[in-house]
């Protein structure tokens, strides 16, 4: 919308009041996600791609691959790089220019959720030991920001990876044949690492905040987990969490994972 883009103080008060009764502005329960819709293969020149909508929030994620020299300490393993751009197209709050902290953090949190969960089997992305391995680029762009870009980006990355086909590679010349794909999928784990961000508003916790709710959020904790096992975490913003609060969140992790997994499962086959 136009210039009125901050959340009015009276709304912030109202959001907090509502939450003490377990209610939200759009009628959702505190632990309820908005509707998630997923489209795959949305950018045909990418090895894999996905558009994820959570409510009015929308992200697009594309996978590209290239052959590169492996790191010395893991000479038979593929590598990965995650970038994120909060496009000025997606919100009146974003401006053109070098990446700001939010986009860097977003990329790093998604990077860890995927890397630490061993979702990509890097040992199977070796072309020639010590010489050539595959690098997987995961590039994330926001298309419309109405809150919770982080979780949307995480889902987008998973689905795009699942959707990807490995490009053809000319061994004699040692070159990737860009634009030509094998019918081989990326080597991925069966376990699905989903990042879910919990936001603290007053004394209450919610998932999947709208932009307005994000504006009231005092602190947040992103947990990347797969079916009960946590593999990455990030606490953001300046307010503290008590041990009890952290325990409350930890008790929610498995259910939140199952809830989101059930909504995206059919796109991960």
């Amino acid at each position: 919308m136009d210039k009125v883009q901050t959340t009015p103080n009276i709304n912030k008060e109202r959001i907090k009041q509502y939450l003490t009764e377990g209610k939200r502005f759009d009628g959702r329960k505190p632990d309820e996600f908005r509707e998630i819709t997923i489209e795959t293969g949305v950018s045909k020149n990418a090895e894999g791609s996905a558009k994820v909508k959570i409510g009015k929030t929308e992200v697009i994620v594309g996978i590209k691959m290239n052959a590169s020299t492996p790191y010395a300490d893991s000479s038979a393993e593929g590598t990965m790089m995650v970038t994120a751009e909060l496009l000025p197209l997606s919100s009146p709050r974003y401006e053109a220019g070098p990446p700001r902290f939010n986009s860097i953090e977003l990329a790093r949190v998604i990077d860890r959720a995927i890397r630490e969960s061993k979702f990509i089997k890097f040992d199977k992305l070796c072309i020639k030991e010590g010489e050539k391995v595959w690098t997987v680029f995961i590039d994330i762009y926001s298309l419309n920001d109405d809150g919770n870009l982080l979780d949307a980006a995480g889902i987008g990355a998973l689905v795009a990876l699942k959707n990807a086909k490995i490009p053809k590679y000319n061994e004699e010349e040692g070159k990737v044949l860009f634009g030509e794909h094998t019918d081989k999928n990326l080597p991925l784990s069966e376990d699905i690492p989903i990042s879910i961000t919990y936001h603290k508003i007053g004394d209450n916790f919610i998932v999947d905040p709208t932009r307005e709710e994000e504006d009231v959020s005092e602190t947040r904790l992103t947990i990347g987990s797969m079916d009960g096992i946590i593999s990455s975490m990030q606490k953001g913003e300046t307010k503290v969490l008590s041990v009890e609060e952290l325990n409350t969140i930890l008790d929610k992790v498995h259910n939140s994972w199952k809830n989101v997994f059930s909504k995206i499962e059919k796109h991960l086959k």
């Binding site: 919308m1 136009d2 210039k3 949305v42 950018s43 045909k44 020149n45 990418a46 090895e47 791609s49 009015k56 697009i60 594309g62 996978i63 590209k64 290239n66 970038t83 751009e85 496009l87 000025p88 197209l89 997606s90 919100s91 009146p92 053109a96 070098p98 990446p99 680029f137 590039d139 762009y141 298309l143 419309n144 920001d145 109405d146 860009f178 634009g179």
Partner: protein
Amino acid sequence: MTNKEFIRDDGRKFDEIRPMKAKVGVVDNADGSAMFQFGKTIAIAAVYGPKKMHPQHAQNPKKGTLRCAYNMLSFSVEDRIRPGPSRRSTEISKITQWALEPVLMIDQFPNQVIDVHINILQASASTRCAGINAAIMALAHAGIPMKNIVSSISVGKIDKQLVVDVNKYEDSIFDEGEGATDIPFTFTGDGKISHLQLDGKISPEQFKEALELAKNGAKKIYEVQKKALKESLGEK
């Protein structure tokens, strides 16, 4: 000279535009937005404003400022490009502004700025044309007053043959005979030229032919833009 029976690598006739799609209202946060697609080339544009120009020293007290930013997503092409601006995108951003500004009535927005953000989701040649086509629809959607809309199209010359709406093969792979020439044009609704570039080799006589082809192609694009704008508000 132009062979009217010529069939292109993708099966099109010389004056046939790839299947087009257009849609208004694709970015909820924006004041105006649109998508325009030529075959495998997809552009989306979002408009924010008119709004106050910051910093103040950049304000123009005589008229509003149009600021365009063209950007290709890293995975929109076969060979990944590094995210962020490049010399190419900087030039196209400016070309886009020049293509659009002649029809916009922005003298009524002194000290204000209209931001147009164009992103190429998928690229297969003619991305600047798709971007301009999406941008003018987004500007109309944002309620910006304008004399006319603009329509952008490329004409190519492959060897001696003229073709409209160049695809990726005609743009960057073809290299037989006289090679490939790419001429993107933008026309205002009343048939004037607001954008013109050329890369390659062509005689002035054949250029005149190319111009005629482009003019006719732009009319078809205009119809697609018009239809999308009218459908977006539920007109039956």
